[in-house]
Symmetry: C6
Subunit: 77 residues, 6 copies
């Protein structure tokens, strides 16, 4: 991908950090399957599946660990 | 999502931290599937499945790592 | 849940820490499915399944990382 | 369990640490399913399954992170 | 493999770090299955599966933790 | 196992570290299923499965976190 989508891991608040973790998780999918049509077609497969949603939440949790550490856990903010 | 739901990772006790980890895990699901009707419909699918419950506990454990680190493991409290 | 079940992550020995990790893993399940009847009914489903037991051991391992870090790995004990 | 099986996370070598990680992984299983007959009966189910073996190796890897950190990665040994 | 493909974990930007995490994830696959024909044949199996894509994103997330830590989270860049 | 196969986690380069992570992952399998015939027979089951390969890459990623931390991420090398 040639577009710039990630300049920093620093965010103002933990919530923005959580949302960045979600972006990272989606980008991991997108790098693996860049075709937007295919991605759109697959969406109901996991968004309507309990296991798929738990797995998605798991990936976000792993990425949130990274973002939270980068921000020193927003301890003074 | 426009609502503010996460202002800090700091909690008074480890138990509150564990409960925050659960909130983070649920939010990861909710960001992926924002429709409350769909979420409600899927609930029995994992809450009545041993594998689904273990997977849910796994995500909570990952988020609890983040929250516990943020709180320096509540060592002096 | 209104009961207090987690006051500290500090334990006297690594074995107690491992047992706390097990407690955390079970609580993750219990928060997700609070009904004790349902939990009891599901028990054979994972306790008699190789995959289920490995998955349970995985969650304990993740929680043990947290508890061990909290205790500085019991290095002087 | 009333027996003492884990007094320390410190080992002399990384290999002993890896073997301790394996012990922790097995104990995670054993705490969940204490019946030795059941455990024995389930053994072929994962030890003869590629997925089961990868999952077992995964749990060992997570526990090895803990043991390796406890030993400061055996850097001066 | 005799080729040199990994000289450093240091990257200029978090995005390059994320792309390195993707490379690490693919190399993990390639070391396990070095046959390029087989790999090509398997590609549709995960790239067209919601579960497969989430699992791929999960591995990238784990490797990104490593790369991000190596770069001190690109805090001053 | 009585053979010595792991003396140190320190490697000269990140690539050697990644290859050590692969060795650790395979040893985790081997400790669980020591029979080389069985292991050989199971190989096609995961090496020709997209899910199996992603799972293998996941375990390598977890072990690479450990090896990379042990080497301070090869920051000055």
């Amino acid at each position: 991908m040639s577009d710039v989508w990630l300049n920093t891991l620093i965010t103002n608040t933990p919530q923005e950090g959580f949302e960045l973790a979600m972006t990272l998780s989606r980008r991991g999918v997108k790098y693996t399957q860049p075709n937007p049509e295919t991605l759109k077609a697959l969406r109901p497969e996991y968004a309507n599946s309990a296991d798929g949603l738990t797995a998605a939440s798991h990936v976000i949790a792993v990425n949130f660990q990274t973002v939270a550490a980068a921000n020193n856990y927003w301890r003074k903010g």
